[in-house]
């Protein structure tokens, strides 16, 4: 699974949030009417989901269960990221309601940096070469093969 820049598509505007009482990320789109609701799936890191539009594979936003109890406190650097739409390139067609796991090995960990409130979901032993903000406050880090190895989220924390 590779992630590619979509130069002719807009990135998704809105607000990422973390609902502490639900242990979950969500995204409040600025223009929900622009997001086709019926045809979607997701690529997943554990129980965290990156919503994907079908067809086309455009990455929309991040949501899903990710208890802060598992987060490691540590440094999540402020990354300089190009604002760009991203799409997923998959060998098999995306299917509504059928999520596809981003490579699970090496393992992923979640870090929280209290200095800047960034949450980093990072694949161990991997290094991102490029960073793209595909939705407001949501950055994908890609390695030299175009594989997702980091997901950075700066949510508003809600009770």
């Amino acid at each position: 699974m590779r992630i590619l820049v979509r130069p002719n598509e807009p990135h998704v505007a809105g607000t990422p949030v973390y609902r502490k009482g639900e242990h979950s990320f969500d995204f409040l789109p600025a223009h929900p009417e622009r997001l086709a609701r019926a045809e979607r799936t997701s690529i997943v890191i554990g129980t965290l989901q990156i919503e994907v539009a079908i067809p086309g594979g455009l990455l929309l936003f991040v949501w899903g269960y990710n208890p802060s109890a598992t987060w490691q406190r540590g440094v999540v650097p402020d990354r300089t990221a190009a604002v760009a739409a991203l799409g997923v390139e998959s060998e098999e067609p995306l299917v509504r309601g059928v999520s596809v796991r981003v490579g699970s090995s090496p393992a992923w960990i979640t870090r929280y940096d209290p200095r800047n409130d960034w949450v980093g979901v990072v694949q161990m032993e991997s290094e991102a070469e490029e960073y793209f903000e595909f939705a407001t406050g949501t950055i994908a880090g890609l390695n030299h093969e175009g594989k997702l190895v980091e997901l950075l989220i700066k949510p508003a924390f809600l009770d």
Binding site: R19, F25, T47, Q49, W63, G64, G97, V98
Partner: protein, 93 residues
Amino acid sequence: VVGHSNSLDINAEELTFSRTAAGHIASRPFMSSVSVLQMVIDAGSPRPDPQGAADTYRWDVRGVNNNSLGTRELVVNVKTKTVYHFNFVSDRQ
């Protein structure tokens, strides 16, 4: 459905979805099916949520959705009867 006993005595009809999960049901028809939810509860052996949330259990049940083989994942707070996570993940990567 013949499967493991529903050791936590959970009834799908009593469950509600978290606000987050509820907001994504429209694009995932299986989430709104009480029968699918109950099937997962009855067919799987729940374990304390490996991600550590209190009062929360997780089920992983093999299945098929839209002709794809995979796993139905369910995470429920059994105290508040709230579904935090319900997803179908394909075997392919």
